[in-house]
Each structure stands twice: as structure tokens, then as C-alpha cells.
Symmetry: C2
């Protein structure tokens, strides 16, 4: 099976599972549940949960047999979606479009969007607390991993604040790297690590996979910056050119387009090198990383 | 030691512990950490964490020996504070004052307040995942308990939406009870249950304590409604009379003042009855419940 088919299969499977994990629309509070379902199910590459599934698969865990692994992957997507909903709010980026559709607050109003984000974060932890794992300490490790990656000490929330505070200021190469590592890299790294932890990884295995996740996470945000400059709004499903218009710190802004592309490509190769220890079992994760460079949405 | 002294001792102790659990102000992102610390440490009755500590104490767990129990209590206060910060935002209640001081968004702006709420919720789960407990399954049970109580299925978020949607509408006695149970009752019940779970409770013990928590939680919100009508803004540290001005559903609005007081008093007595099985060990929890009726802030 080539990568494209494999990704499409994952996506279809995950979409069905996400729909099952979300509260039903006909249960109260309906507006809130509708807003949660809308924001998650409107679409998305599902890159983060796929990364988690493929990491576990590379370590020998076969997805279909492990209901718990799908739940973990779902929780990762909920944390990602919560961050998008809150980021899009008028108090932050004030975005009208996301994944080609009106943002949550455009469709449901600010109050419901705020609470829908809160609800997805809360639901993620509820699912994680219920994860079926042979070792209950592993579950706690996974929860800690994600809370830290989403948190304020080098995690996603730290990145959002740094991003906010960098607007209109001249940022250095070092600063933009730190922002991207926190804003996007930490959660992507955690997706890899959680898949690994789920599969029972420890020691050098976990260390190598963490390195893969770290490099990949930074590369992902650089490619995102590049897409914001190059892609059309129509294809990307959200407005483009906004980073520049908002005077946001970006890799192209600091390093220029060509150099940014080069850095992203190098990071992807470094990520792939970290997987050497897996031999052939690392091929899908490597393909996934290289695929990143050619993504158009 | 009388109840007042006991509560003051708890508060002083908890305030110190909350300050330790929060990220330091001089760590990046400083603005966010300052906002988190401000909102938690500006004051508060610490009713929820005290309820957790006293429940564990009633079951024989002595606080000073159990560092984990204080962490659990801290996480409860963080979840409560996150809900206050988000509730106060312009998109929801648009409140300027809380605990006698400017609300988080008044002091730090909307963007930081939104993220500070997110950060406190995330930190709470990080702390819970780290809880030291002899039985790791208990930890998962506690996390699940809190995520559910804060969530959308009869939990805090369900209550916030129902509250929002009831504005300006005539609510029935049944509806206002459901709103209050969800908005405030679920988390208070969970504080009692988490203290009990921490102490190893199960079966009938857990059932009786849940009933205590449930009655107490509903009574708490009714007293809150009454205070909004009766107390002065100065004493309460937040604007009063707002429920009526906003056409919010309240117990006095549905049942009148006197009847609401009666209902609250009855609920407190029912809560106390549920503790009979504890004998003398239940006296502090009973005193805490009765104290509620005389609270002025």
C-alpha cells in the first residue's frame, strides 16, 4: 500500500472513531455538542493522530486490535482542535475560516466557541483517564506527557503567548525557533511519544523517537509558514498571507523562503536518521516525514 | 479547634501550596504565569479544596502526611479558577470584578485571560497525572471523576451553556435545579468524591459521601443566588444584583427568597443526614455544610 492510500485509510477510520468519541448532537447541551462535533468533523489532515498510530505500528502494535490506541489518537486530535478553536477567537487571531469552513465562533458565536474549546480539552483528558492499558502507570505517563506538551512550560500555551507577544516585533532566528518548537513542535513530539509509550517503549527507543518527533514538529511549522506565503487561500481552506499582514514572526520572515525550505528539508532528514534503529519498521514514519515537505494544505 | 479557626488554617496552608504548584512568575511566558498566579492567589474561600481535604480527613487520612492530597486539592481549585476566568470573559458574563479585584481579562487583556484559563485546566490535569497514590487505578478514577464533573454531560460546561441559554427565558423549578446541579453541584460533588477516592473509599461509603456532596453542591449555588440578591457588592467582592439585571435563572427568581432559603436549609440537613454512617468523624463535614447557610461572601 502506498503512503497516500495508507493515509486515506487512516483518515476514514479516524473520522469514524472521532464521531463515536464525541458526545451525540441530540444530547444536551445540544448547541455545545454541535459546536464540538462541527469543529472536529469539519475535516482535517489528522496528522497528529496518524503520527501516534504509525509510531505504535512501527513498534509492532497493530491498530485494529487496540481500541485504546484509537482513543488515544482521538484525544490528541481533540487537544489539537481545542487549540485551533481558541486561537481563532477574536481575542486571538480573529480568523473567519478554518479548514475551508467558517470558524467555530463564526458559526456558533463566541461564547459557545470558547466553551466548545474548553469541552474538547476536558473530553480529551476524560478519554485518556479511561484508556485501557495493561499498566496503569503508563496511562499516567501519557496524561502527563500531553498535559506538559499542551502546557505553559515550553508547551503549546507557551508558544501561543510567545507568538502573540512577537507580533510586530523583530524576532531573531533563535526566538522563532523557540516559538515554533513550543507552539507546534511540543504537541507533535508528544503524539510520537504517546504512541511509543502506548506500545511500551522506553530507554533508547523512546529517546530516538522523541528526536524524530521533535525535528518533525519544527519542520511541520516551518512548512506551515511557507504555505501561508505560497499557497492560495482556496486550496488551504484558510486565509493566506496573514502572517505577514499581522507582522507575525515566521521562518520565511527571518530566514527568507529558500533558506526556510532548506532548513525544513534538513530537519526532515535528521528526523529520518533518528529512526535508523528501526530498520525497515521505520519506513512509514520516514515516508510520513518526507511527505510533509510536499504538502499543499 | 472551632470551625472558623480550622478553615483559616486550611486556607493559609492551601494558599501556600497553591503558590508552590503554580509556575513561577519569572519563568517564560511571564505574562501568562502572572495572570495564572493573579487569578488563583487573589483570594477565595477555597471551599472546594477544603471540602476535599476534610472528606479525606473524615475517613482517617491526615492531611500533613499526604503531599498528594494537597496536590489534588490544588488541582480542584485550579479547575474552579479556570471556570471563573472564562465565565468572566466578555463573550460570557463580561464581569469586571471578582474576589474584590479586577477580573483576569480586565487586568491582562482578553487573549491572556483566555489562555490563562486554558493553562489552569491543563495544569490541573498535569498535577493529577503526577499524583502519588499507592494504587495507580485510583489516580485514573480521580482524573475521570473530575473530567466528567467539569464536562458537558451533566457537568460544569453543561451548566454554563444551560445558564447562558436560560437568560431572559422563564425557567421552571425543574430546569433551574438541573442548571445549578450541573453548573456548580457537579464539581462540588466531585471534590467530595475525589477526597473519598483518595482515602480509598468505595461501596456504601462512597455512595453516602456522594449524596452529601450532591446536596451540598446544590445548596451552595442556591446560597450564591441569595447572596446576589441580598449582599452588598463591597462585601461580596463582585457586583451584586446582576442575576436579576441579566434575567438569569435563579432560585429566588423561581421560588422567591423565603422558599429558596428553606430549600437550601433542607438540602443542608439532608446532606448532614447522609453522613450519619461516619458518626463523630462526620462532624466537621456537617459543620462545614451548616456554615454554608450563614456565609456572607
Amino acid at each position: 500500500m502506498n503512503l497516500k492510500t495508507r493515509l486515506e485509510k487512516h483518515r476514514a477510520h479516524l473520522d469514524r472513531h472521532l464521531a463515536r468519541l464525541l458526545p451525540p448532537e441530540d444530547a444536551e447541551p445540544r448547541t455545545l455538542h454541535r459546536a464540538m462535533r462541527y469543529s472536529v468533523l469539519v475535516g482535517g489532515k489528522r496528522f497528529r493522530p496518524i503520527l501516534c498510530l504509525e509510531t505504535a505500528a512501527a513498534l509492532g502494535q497493530q491498530t485494529p486490535k487496540l481500541r485504546g490506541l484509537e482513543d488515544l489518537a482521538g484525544a490528541l486530535e481533540f487537544i489539537h482542535t481545542y487549540s485551533l478553536i481558541h486561537d481563532d477567537l477574536p481575542a486571538l487571531d480573529n480568523d473567519d475560516l478554518r479548514r475551508g469552513q467558517p470558524t467555530c465562533h463564526k458559526k456558533f458565536g463566541e461564547a459557545i466557541a470558547l466553551l466548545a474549546g474548553d469541552a474538547l480539552l476536558t473530553l480529551a483528558f476524560e478519554i485518556l483517564a479511561r484508556l485501557r492499558l495493561p499498566d496503569a502507570r503508563r496511562r499516567a505517563q501519557i496524561i502527563q506527557e500531553l498535559a506538559t506538551a499542551a502546557g505553559t512550560r515550553g508547551g503549546m500555551l507557551a508558544g501561543q503567548v510567545a507568538d502573540l507577544e512577537a507580533v510586530g516585533r523583530k524576532v531573531s532566528a533563535q526566538q522563532i525557533e523557540a516559538i515554533h518548537r513550543a507552539k507546534t513542535g511540543a504537541l507533535i513530539r508528544a503524539c510520537v511519544r504517546c504512541g511509543a509509550l502506548f506500545a511500551g517503549a522506553r530507554g533508547p527507543t523512546l529517546k530516538h523517537l522523541s528526536e524524530y518527533g521533535e525535528k518533525l514538529g519544527l519542520a511541520f511549522q516551518i512548512v506551515d509558514d511557507l504555505l501561508d506565503v505560497r499557497s492560495s487561500s482556496e486550496r488551504l481552506g484558510k486565509p493566506t498571507g496573514l502572517d505577514a499582514a499581522r507582522h507575525k514572526g515566521t521562518y520565511p520572515g527571518v530566514h527568507g523562503l529558500e533558506e526556510s525550505e532548506k532548513i525544513a528539508a534538513e530537519l526532515v532528514e535528521e528526523a529520518c536518521s533518528a529512526l535508523k534503529f528501526l530498520g525497515e519498521d521505520g519506513h512509514v514514519l520516514q515516508a510520513l516525514a518526507r511527505h510533509l515537505l510536499s504538502r499543499t494544505t
